[in-house]
Amino acid sequence: MKDLIKIDHLRTHFFSDKNVVKAVNDVSLRVREGETVCVVGESGCGKSVTAMSIMGLIEEPGGKVVGGSIEFDGRDLLKLSKNELRTIRGNDISMIFQEPMSSLNPVLKIGQQIMEPLIVHQKLSKKEARARAIELIEQVGISRAEQIADSYPHELSGGMLQRIMIAIAISCGPKLLIADEPTTALDVTIQAQILDMLREFKKKSNMSMMLITHDLGVVAEMADYVVVMYAGKVVEEGEVVKLFESPKHPYTQGLLKSKPIINQRQDELYSIPGQVPNPLDLTDSCYFHDRCAHCMDICRTKQPVLKGVADQQKAACWLYEEAVVHV
């Protein structure tokens, strides 16, 4: 399968008065055509910033993509002009945000907001766009589409709004859909419906999807390939079944262990000890070393690189480095 988007050594930094926060620190990942890649990690690990970098949402002077490349369909998104980027956004790549309630303009009618990308990118007339918008509202499983098209965002519930967001995102038939925690703000039953819908659209249109989440349940349900991020770096990636069966990196192992298992009584749910390191004072070490049960001397002084550790599975950990003597 061809690579649809290939991110190479992406580095996105944020600047404050004196400090630099390396929110995304040398991240490489790719999404192939028709594939769903899940990016997981806890809050602040750089998942969302990676997505924002792809969409060009990092705004100077606060932050900046300082290095790397994002190749989409053979073109480096970071080198495109504002206008070229605009024709890709919303058309070839679209994005769904975490908060459906605040992602729609409160003073515009739902219908208008769905029509907008159709008019801009597909060059439809107002009438055609409206017809298509109503079709889309029906497609995302909302009845009374005509009426909904004429209502304002505050008149709909969160679940409905997220469906509308999906309708907007798929309206131009994008090749890549980036969903940044699309179900976090919704309750569980709605979550399942939304995920089902995304999966269905993906199958129908052979669209690729980059799903950002911290919910391992969502990962298991949706992903073909999983990328685990920690403190701005990819610590492990692999094919979903293999990664769940035999996680290699201690962080991934910890994540999977802290997931409740149905039908199994546990007095206390496991959690990884310690906290995410402060992104301001990262030293040249494995960022996970002080929370890791297998920490060795080398972990404190040198950063491991991402390497193949098994078939279709890579991890960045000294445990799998042959030259290192295990203690």
């Binding site: 969409m55 060009g56 949402l57 980027l85 605009r86 024709t87 890709i88 956004r89 919303g90 058309n91 679209s94 994005m95 945000f97 908060e99 605040s102 992602s103 729609l104 303009n105 409160p106 003073v107 515009l108 907008e116 990308p117 801009v120 990118h121 499983g141 909302i142 009845s143 009426q147 909904i148 004429d150 209502s151 304002y152 505050h154 008149e155 709909l156 519930s157 969160g158 679940g159 409905m160 469906r163 967001m165 907007i168 709605i190 419906q193």
Partner: protein, 309 residues
């Protein structure tokens, strides 16, 4: 913003709910109608407009001919508000003056709202150097108090001997130019906060042009604010125009405006002996401006609840 949440259950495909699809406009209208004082203000303004624009049509004295035989006559059945020193009917002139004053108020309001909203929106949206330039110009205009600035302009007009029939239009321009900076500031402030909202990120992600983002997405969010400011602005403009004309720096006689009609009060004899010359235009200014302000306050309560005092 009018947030009248209508209960809607979640749309499981076959959900049967009927949200009241009333537009924000209709909701706001309903709330405005409940505000008696504001409606009273609106009624007064509307009556004033109708009277000024239609009234002179029915007046037998609309030609403004000089009648030496009926100079300075007190109100009577023939001349309801008396006549002035040239024998012209005061009521007719007050109404004709109202046309000018209201037109100047409206036109300068449109001008200042247009300039202020446009520049404020551009400054707030683009920030950086554009913002700096626009806002420093605005600051500059704001550092000089409005009235003295208008006086300087007015004096210049007299100095350059601008024909009296053009002066009315130039006064509109002047008032518009003096009023935009405050509005631009307010709009800019709103823009700065709106542009960071998540729905604007979503608009970026949709690949919309700046122009579309600015005018289709951001400006509609501040329309309520604009309506309120615009309304209150009319009152202010009418007052400023009256002040200017009163001092003989605005619209010049023979074109009547409320301001230059009150000028009669400057003359001790007219002030003491002929009160019908200056009370009616003064009263008109008073009533109109008060009514506009009452209505504007009511509008603000309805459209912009955040600013409620």
């Amino acid at each position: 913003m009018a947030i009248h949440s209508t209960p809607v259950t979640d749309a499981v495909p076959a959900a049967k709910t009927t949200p009241k699809s009333s537009s924000l406009f209709k909701q706001s209208m309903r709330r405005l109608l409940r505000n008696k004082l504001a409606i009273f203000g609106l009624a007064v303004v509307v009556i004033m407009f109708i009277a000024c624009f239609l009234g002179p049509v029915f007046s037998p004295y609309a030609d403004n001919k000089i009648h030496m035989n009926v100079m300075n006559k007190a109100p009577s059945m023939k001349h309801w508000l008396g006549t002035d020193a040239l024998g012209r009917d005061v009521l007719t002139r007050v109404l004709q003056a109202g046309r000018i004053s209201l037109t100047v108020g409206l036109a300068s309001m449109f001008l200042s709202v247009f300039i202020g909203a446009l520049l404020g929106a551009i400054a707030g949206y683009y920030r950086g150097i554009v913002d700096q330039i626009i806002m420093r110009i605005a600051d500059l205009l704001l550092t000089i108090p409005g009235l003295p600035l208008l006086f300087i302009f007015g004096a210049l007009l007299s100095e350059w001997k601008v024909p009296t029939n053009y002066r009315m239009y130039i006064v509109m321009l002047m008032l518009g130019l003096v009023n935009w900076p405050g509005l631009a500031r307010m709009v800019r402030g709103q823009m700065l906060s709106l542009r960071e909202r998540e729905f604007m990120q979503a608009a970026v992600v949709l690949g919309l042009r700046d122009r579309r983002k600015l005018f289709n997405h951001l400006l509609p969010n501040i329309v309520p604010l604009l309506i309120v400011i615009a309304t209150l602005n009319i009152g202010g403009s009418i007052l400023s125009e009256s002040v200017l004309s009163f001092f003989g720096l605005g619209v010049m006689p023979p074109t009547p405006t409320w301001g230059n009609m009150i000028d009669a009060a400057n003359n001790l004899i007219d002030f003491q002996e002929h009160p019908w010359l200056w009370i009616p235009p003064g009263f008109s200014i008073f009533i109109t401006v008060i009514a506009i302000n009452i209505f504007g306050d009511g509008l603000r309560d309805v459209l912009d609840p955040k600013q409620k005092r």
